[in-house]
């Protein structure tokens, strides 16, 4: 009886044991954004974020990613622009300090390529985003790298005098390269 119980518990735990739980190491990862300003691509990055990823390449459908970005940690390259985008017309970090992403579906695209869909919430608004990414196991760690494009107007980011897309384009490309260690 005891053996059977243990066996059942072991069977129940088996899927979890297969799916590695990863915690992203921020100083070996990068979360950047690229947008066009007066037609010229400009890159910036987010300095503060946390991400947890459950991923088993054999069962991508069971994968799960939760990412929280501390928007006050934005680095646009210009101090005055950092201050501007934290303000009311943009992220409004006083009221909405974080961007939150939670995956709802992950599927295999073949090879080491996968695709994650999920809900991205920013500035009080939620949109579905889909990001193709690659999975690269590195011993006890793994690298998840991919990108997707969002439209800032969908989140009400860049209002007032910034609402016109002529100076700052609507499309913002988000690129991530997460180096994550397993078993934390």
């Amino acid at each position: 009886m005891k053996k059977l119980l243990l066996g059942l518990i072991a069977a129940a735990l088996l899927p979890i044991a297969h799916a590695a739980q990863y915690a992203v190491t921020p100083d070996r990862s990068a979360l950047t954004f690229t947008y066009k300003q007066m037609g010229v691509p400009v890159e910036g990055r987010f300095r503060k974020y946390s991400a947890r990823i459950d991923f088993d390449p054999a069962k991508p459908a069971a994968a799960k990613a939760v990412i929280d970005v501390d928007l006050a940690g934005i680095d646009t390259g210009l101090p005055e622009a950092d201050e501007e985008v934290k303000g009311k017309d943009w992220f409004d970090v006083k009221n909405y300090p974080q961007a939150h992403f939670e995956s709802t579906a992950v599927k295999a695209l073949g090879g080491n390529r996968y695709e994650a869909s999920g809900k991205l919430t920013m500035h009080g608004r939620t949109q579905i985003v889909t990001a193709p990414f690659t999975y690269g196991p590195q011993g006890n760690a793994a690298q998840f790298e991919g990108s997707f494009t969002l439209k800032r107007a969908d989140y009400g980011i860049g209002q007032g005098e910034w609402a016109d897309f002529g100076t700052v384009a609507n499309e913002i490309q988000i690129k991530f390269r997460f180096l994550a260690t397993a078993g934390k």
Partner: protein, 179 residues
Amino acid sequence: MSAARYTPVAIGLHWIVAALLAALFGVGLYMHGLPLSPWKLKVYSWHKWAGVTAFALLLLRFAWRATHRPPALPAAMPAWQRGAAHAGHALLYVLMAAIPLTGWLMSSAKGFQTVWFGVLPIPDLLEKNKELGEVLGEVHEWLNYLLAAVVAGHAGAALKHHVVDRDDVLTRMLPRRSS
């Protein structure tokens, strides 16, 4: 009246560049103090496009100057004035080249590539580097003040030739009046 004049092309380029540099200088002073806004981003882009244009015109002037000898200075000019004139002109050319170059390098260091008229990307020679960008900004600014001082000397000398010496040094750089 001496017949030795600058060529119409040299005269045209001289005055187009003079007007462009005056506008760039004024806009540069104005835009620096603007609060961040779409207007500021637009003005910065226009300033950069105009700066690249000024540099392109400078290259044209170099090419023209290399193939067309400018008229000689008046024979009555003392040697020190000739020396000062040549040194002043050389300095003007050096500054007209150095100012757009520092502006371009500053843009690269600050992470904002220069794309001429939003169409032709000028390669970034420098990697993004905040500190270097700020140093280049200072250099760009002070070279401009130096250029303004040298231009003032240049214009003052031309007026002195016209009013005091009553020679043709100023008029030979003016467009010929149609009679």
